[in-house]
Symmetry: C2
């Protein structure tokens, strides 16, 4: 088992990414042969040694990186040695079983989709994020890979989310819900209504539409959303939690240790540091997308998640789910 | 100045709505002649007297109500004496200057749009909600009246939001932003990109796209969103705040009064009780839509908001804004 690490992508790369890699090695959670670090060879060696790493992991050298503001497709064409392309190539060629990347999300999605191809029967990738609600964790997908999906794509997000919730969250019969702005089957855009019909017919535990105010109360384990809504929801939660945390900090400036402790434990629930990033589902390989603002502390959780995704065989189970679904009926046309 | 109150709409109607009306009268914030209560005459008289109200407001009798789960258009046809229709009729006929309603939002929007008509030059109504961020209040519209708007509708939301932010929030040069899933002008659906171009050309202080994680940090005073996104954002914020408040309550079960006080002050920011409801903008009249779950304490803030909207002449300023905009250019076609 080996995970490729894009050392160049992200707001604090390469310094923070490499500090995180060093932590993974120094804690012995990961052995050097389990990592493949992609970036400038000399800089990586120097940085890891400075952190006290004696046995270095394998390094794949490149200086090229796609910055956060670059347009994905153009940038990928202009930079054939971009770190994310080398990471994807390593997975495609079997040098690694998965990758973690903290850089330009659009470029990561495009590089992985083109470089790895799709799992059998899956048309479009989706970004899945794990959130925590009052009765535990749940998965939201798509969080932005596919802002204007067709209804069949949404059905496939349900099928993929089901596999993920079983493998990674350990839920025996995941309840799948469709993100919408009303509870009734008749609500929403034509695409959402079609997706509702597909999900109803599929061999899934589909529990119907869900609205934003119900997300956090344990009513569903998998939330299927179009990428436009999913991305917006994720960012609003992120921003709102940050805003409240800021208010909390202001309150607790003069507050006792007890108050500060309570406020800290409150906002621990709001981030998804626990799983280190979002899994790009549907591509042939494990691609974990970390937040662009990640610092060193996000690297080890991302590595752990990628390892779990590889070891639990999420993609194998997605493929099985899709095959079972296709066997159960004639696949919808026109997607 | 007189406000019509739909006493029958809402999860806790009529009892809680009437308790709220009684509070408005008993505190003398509103005089009896400033209110017109729509609902079952005997029940209203009895309830208000039981609360200690001696001088009763005018009552418009009806027993018909459109429930929260009913389909708006069908229900409005089937129930010509529905309380919301009588409220809208009162505004149309000059018996009231505005109305407040806590019932079926879709029915309220449809009744007001058909019964009052649109302000000159405005094509579609939008629901505007006031939220609070780290540097004060801001307006989000549309929060769900128009889930699949055309780009011209979004432009008009910007123009209406500008008037609202000036009149009600007291901001001299409101900054208008467009809700999107990326910062660049090239991001988003064709409709959003067109709206970006319209807003750039309009005589507004347009500051570009805004993403969900930036909403709460004072970067814009008016957030223009399609009703699908706006509704989802509002509900996600509501649900997330409720979830965190629940966690806070669990934490503070064993906590000191200091901790409880801090947590309470934190979540005061998350609701929009302050303004009592959302203003339906674009129709010829003041229509304030309260939350279906409102209890008595929401009625007086809603009445205050409706009165302020009437007195500050929001609709007059919207009409002026639209006229100025139309004078400044040939209006876009095809909306």
């Amino acid at each position: 088992m080996r995970i490729a690490v894009d050392a160049l992508g992200g707001d604090y790369a390469p310094a923070e990414v490499l500090r995180g890699v060093a932590q993974a090695l120094l804690t012995q959670e990961f052995q050097p042969e389990e990592l493949l670090v992609v970036g400038p060879e000399d800089g990586i060696k120097q940085a890891l040694k400075a952190e006290g790493v004696s046995q270095l992991p394998q390094i794949l050298h490149t200086d090229q990186v796609i910055a956060g503001h670059e347009k994905p497709i153009q940038a990928l064409r202009a930079k054939p040695k971009a770190s994310i392309l080398l990471c994807v190539g390593a997975v495609r060629d079997g040098l690694a079983d998965g990758l973690i990347a903290f850089g330009n999300t659009g470029a990561t999605v495009a590089a992985a989709t083109m470089g790895l191809g799709m799992l059998p029967g899956i048309r479009r990738p989706g970004i899945s994020v794990v959130l925590r609600g009052s009765v535990g964790r749940f998965v939201l997908l798509d969080a932005g890979a596919n802002p204007t999906p067709k209804s069949l794509h949404l059905l496939q997000y349900g099928i993929m989310g089901d596999a993920y919730a079983r493998d990674i969250l350990g839920i025996a019969e995941p309840r799948i819900a469709l993100m919408n702005i009303g509870g009734e089957a008749s609500k929403g855009s034509p695409v959402i209504k079609e997706a509702y019909a597909h999900l109803t017919e599929a061999p899934l535990n589909f529990v119907g539409n869900i609205e934003g105010n119900h997300l956090f109360f344990g009513e569903a384990d998998v939330i299927v959303a179009d990428g436009y809504a999913g991305n917006m929801i994720l960012k609003v939660i992120e921003g709102f939690a940050e805003y409240l945390a800021g208010k909390a900090a202001a309150i607790s400036d003069d507050a006792s240790e007890e108050v500060k402790g309570s406020l800290r434990s409150l906002f621990g629930a709001a981030d998804y540091a626990e799983v280190g990033g979002a899994l790009l589902m549907g591509v042939k390989g494990i691609v974990l997308i970390g937040h662009g603002r990640s610092k060193a502390s996000a690297v080890l959780p991302a590595l752990r998640s990628a390892r779990a995704d590889v070891e639990k065989g999420v993609n194998h189970h997605i493929t099985e789910n899709v095959a079972a679904f296709n066997a159960s009926q004639i696949a919808p046309e026109g997607a």
